[in-house]
Symmetry: C2
Subunit: 304 residues, 2 copies
């Protein structure tokens, strides 16, 4: 089964009451209209062997990552985290010290991000091999700002990214990153963002998501993509920056004038880099050494 | 690891801001104070081989059950469901038709219970055997009513239960039950409930949870426990009613006068039965054929 196609199918099912559901499946968070305010909801899972390794990283690091990943989806709407709940499916033989370590990891992220862990569920796999699975659901609010969706990019917008990309899971940066909550909030407040997403799948994939949700295309300037030091020693650092994922940086589209102001003032502490632009049409184009090539969501393919 | 002891340990960790978190871990839902209203949050998981069987029951029935179980925790606070999100960890080889069936099951419960499915996440286990895991997180609200907690029972209260108990997972009733949302709401509105819980672990275990949270003990009249027809043919129907669990009926404590009014009027459609009373002290006592015996949370042990 192709998961992305299935998710698309879900997004087409509809039947949700627009009086309650302002944004349904398909964006970083659902947006609910509740009691006169907008409530953000997002849920994400960390599976042992897929998004981390219990054996290699230990339960505390995985707990922290599970929580931080989910909170990053609140940043991706320029929201403010409110609270989280978590479920843990524990493998057979999971010990009390391991459970406490996992809880410490969740709590560390929750406390650090001002997103208290208010409830959860723990269950153990019965007979047979069931690996560790953690699901974290995060609630957020919008305050005075409207949430910034994936779907608002327009032809002519500038595409920017925070920080640097690539090599995150090779270096373990994926375990220790801090979701860009304050940065997203400041960008949305002061620079009129049209569209925003966090980079979890990879720059190419997530720019693809943003462009598809907005009904536009995008051009990426290969020489402008900020490659992280963690990827610098690799055979193809650009490919790592385009497709590794797990960077949890912010990727956004905004009008030219706003981008110029942002890039000149650099107000975030972390650098913001202009990496491309939104164009009419569909799909991604990579411009590299003056040549244009289609960029698949999986990232740039090394030419052999 | 004993899960119940670990959960107790979590409940003791504290550090939650009472300005936001009115009820933290340990009750059926967390209660958040948000924007002038109370928000309920609960999260629950369904693991293949533990809470159902993908092979035996199929993905649609498990999807429905996962959603209904989680919504039952909203009923257990006398709340009103608002929306749900779900994550699915899919085993290798999980097919598109299976994924669609699972979604149909989630949607069936969501639509039937007026609790729309507004978002989620799907991931596949990588190499190795990872079974199906479904986590459903449900948001609820309280409206004009205060949530009914587990912790409000007082000595002298009457203990009542809706419906009949036992044999649920033997008969498959656990897959088709409807959470008692309207019943809980009516009880809380009109009969001054002191404490409320839904029966998922089993009558003995859940009455134990309610009593422990309230700092009281409880006496149970064995002859009054309503045994479900699904358990009638078993060797020990009372043991099934006490310990099978998965009934998703309401178990509650209320003052004597309110109980008399309730039992005389029977306003729910489903029968309400008086099964015992709250007493000072701690622990559960089963009164059977005039004899008193301690009742462990695991339920009544057949005397051999």
């Amino acid at each position: 089964m192709r998961e992305s196609e299935f998710i698309q199918w879900i997004c087409q099912q509809g039947g949700l009451d627009p009086a309650l559901v302002e944004v349904g499946p398909g964006d970083d968070c659902a947006v609910l209209k509740l009691g006169g305010e907008r409530l953000l909801v997002t849920t994400d899972q960390l599976l042992d062997g897929v998004h981390g390794s219990l054996k290699t990283h230990g339960p505390e690091a995985l707990g922290r990552k599970a929580a931080a990943r989910a909170v990053s989806d609140i940043a991706a709407m320029a929201g403010l985290p409110v609270a989280m709940v978590a479920t843990v499916a524990a493998p057979r033989g999971f010990s009390r010290p391991q459970a406490e370590a996992l809880y410490r990891g969740l709590r560390a992220a929750a406390d650090e991000l001002s997103c208290p862990l208010v409830g959860g569920d723990l269950a153990a796999w019965a007979a047979g091999p069931g690996p560790l699975a953690i699901t974290v659901t995060v609630l957020g609010r919008c305050g005075e700002l409207a949430p910034v969706l994936r779907s608002g990019a327009r032809a002519g917008d500038v595409v920017c990214v925070t920080g640097a990309l690539g090599g995150a899971w090779r270096s373990g940066r994926d375990l220790t990153f801090r979701p860009r909550l304050a940065e997203a909030r400041l960008l949305a407040e002061r620079f009129g963002l049209h569209a925003l997403i966090d980079i979890s799948d990879g720059l190419a994939a997530d720019l693809g998501h943003l462009a598809a949700a907005s009904g536009v295309g995008a051009e990426l300037d290969a020489s402008a993509v900020p490659v992280h030091a963690d990827a610098a020693g690799l055979a193809d650092p650009l490919a790592a920056a385009l497709s590794d994922g797990e960077d949890y940086e912010l990727l956004f589209a905004l009008p030219e004038g706003q981008a110029e102001r942002l890039l000149a003032s650099q107000p975030l502490g972390v650098p913001v880099t202009r990496i491309g632009r939104i164009v009419a049409g569909a799909g991604l184009t990579l411009i590299r050494d003056g040549r244009r090539q289609a960029l698949p969501p999986s990232g740039w393919e090394h030419e052999t």
